[in-house]
Symmetry: C2
Subunit: 269 residues, 2 copies
């Protein structure tokens, strides 16, 4: 096998399993090559991956060491994702009655979701989170894709308890958009007590749901490692959570003029 083939295969294998550590021996065995060759291959793979704007290859020293692919996103690529998201949100035919926007096509589109997840995975790569947590339903794809890029499991908080969840813990909370009390529940098996979760959701207005997720996580002794939301509504100014990271900010939705105000969060500036 030629160097270029090995480098290509290493890039693909690492890209398929982000944040998973592969030791050199794995590649030596796989390609029947010497450690010195594989070291040079990995150096070339690191240059290749570094040039794409989608993260980097990290070398971990020591006996348990090896290499892993850390997904991230360059400001240029992040800007592309944000601009595309803004462009889509401004489409007038997604304005529903009551100032609501139809966003399912965005939140269920793999290319856009992967871009958003890359922004979250880059932002929270050092958060120490063991899990990504979300609440059903529309935020599940972006939360799951973030979990995949960070190589940690997902926790889905549910609206109703299900027999297949085993023993659950439930809370009542105020979503904020209405004053109607709602319920959410989490399986007691969802994560080991003492672990840390990153909360990811598709949309936040007052922050009631996010605060509810943080509360229910604390009931099962899981700490919040960070909060990421794809779209945050500028109003109300007073949110129930103070520390959150949005990808774009949604302003006024004018049903009559058919205009949507939305701006990107240029967080690297």
């Amino acid at each position: 096998m030629k160097r270029s083939h090995r480098v290509g295969a290493i890039c693909q294998i690492l890209a398929e399993s982000p944040h998973r550590i592969f030791n050199l021996r794995y590649f030596c065995d796989r390609f029947s090559a010497a450690k010195s060759s594989i070291s040079e291959d990995i150096a070339a793979a690191a240059l290749a991956v570094g040039s794409t704007g989608y993260g980097y290859i990290e070398t971990l020293p020591g006996a348990s060491g090896g290499v892993r692919y850390v997904p991230d996103i360059s400001p240029e690529k992040a800007e592309e994702v944000q601009d595309e998201l803004c462009r889509l949100l401004r489409e007038e035919n997604r304005i529903l009655g009551g100032g609501f926007l139809y966003t399912s096509d965005i939140m269920y589109n793999p290319a856009i979701v992967k871009g958003m997840a890359r922004i979250f995975a880059g932002r929270f790569k050092s958060s120490g989170a063991d899990h990504v947590a979300t609440i059903e339903t529309k935020g599940i794809p972006v939360a799951f894709m973030t979990a995949q890029l960070l190589n940690i499991p997902l926790i889905v908080v549910r609206r109703e308890t299900k027999i297949s969840e085993g023993a659950t813990v439930s809370i009542n909370y105020f979503p904020g958009s209405s004053e109607r009390l709602q319920k959410m529940s989490i399986s007691k098996r969802a994560a080991a007590p003492g672990s840390k979760a990153l909360i990811i959701d598709d949309f936040m207005r007052g922050g009631g749901s996010i605060k509810g997720i943080a509360e229910i996580l604390s009931e099962v002794d899981i700490q919040v490692a960070g909060v990421g939301v794809a779209i945050v509504n500028i109003e109300p100014e007073d949110k129930k959570v103070s520390d959150y990271f949005p990808i774009v900010r949604l302003g006024n939705v004018d049903e009559m003029k058919k205009t949507v105000e939305v701006t990107a969060n240029r967080y690297w500036e």
Copy 2:
């Protein structure tokens, strides 16, 4: 930039965007290289990707042509995924009361979900599906990951209608596990009439939910292009859908002896 760097970068770029067609010009511009060089790079990338067991690079001729990465899975890799799934399902501590199994940790684990999605994406790569459809909640990650590998959008059928879904179509159906009538709804904007959807779900017993999804899709003029389920329960023998593709088959769950019977679907044999 050396050949090995370009080949590595091409492998990563293609792996990050499955089923997306890149024309040669894209890589020529990106790497400031001649078409003849890029053609050789792509040939090397195709060999590299072909060696991993995770699909292949396809060359499409003509003016609109180019190259794309088609995710697939070799029988050896599929067997690894299936055996891991069987091993996990046999763990005695996941047996809940009433013969139910706790499977959320499996369905929310990115590595296992990606393996299962690869099996579906390979199996249905020529189905002509424009969408992947599922019903909330537990099947969303594997359905979404399959959609990502096939580069087509997801449709999520919901249990309740939501204002943010716009106009919806609803049906009542018998889930099969109980004789209690249930409701499901789909946004009229979910997909263009005349398109085709692949139904993917985490679990199927009698097939009532899958039959319901097929019915509601037909109400909005979407045709079923195939059905994939991660786990199918062997009982009842008579299912409400006849044509489905399972990854593993679940037999008897013995609460007293703490045993779970599960076998892999060695579909390539």
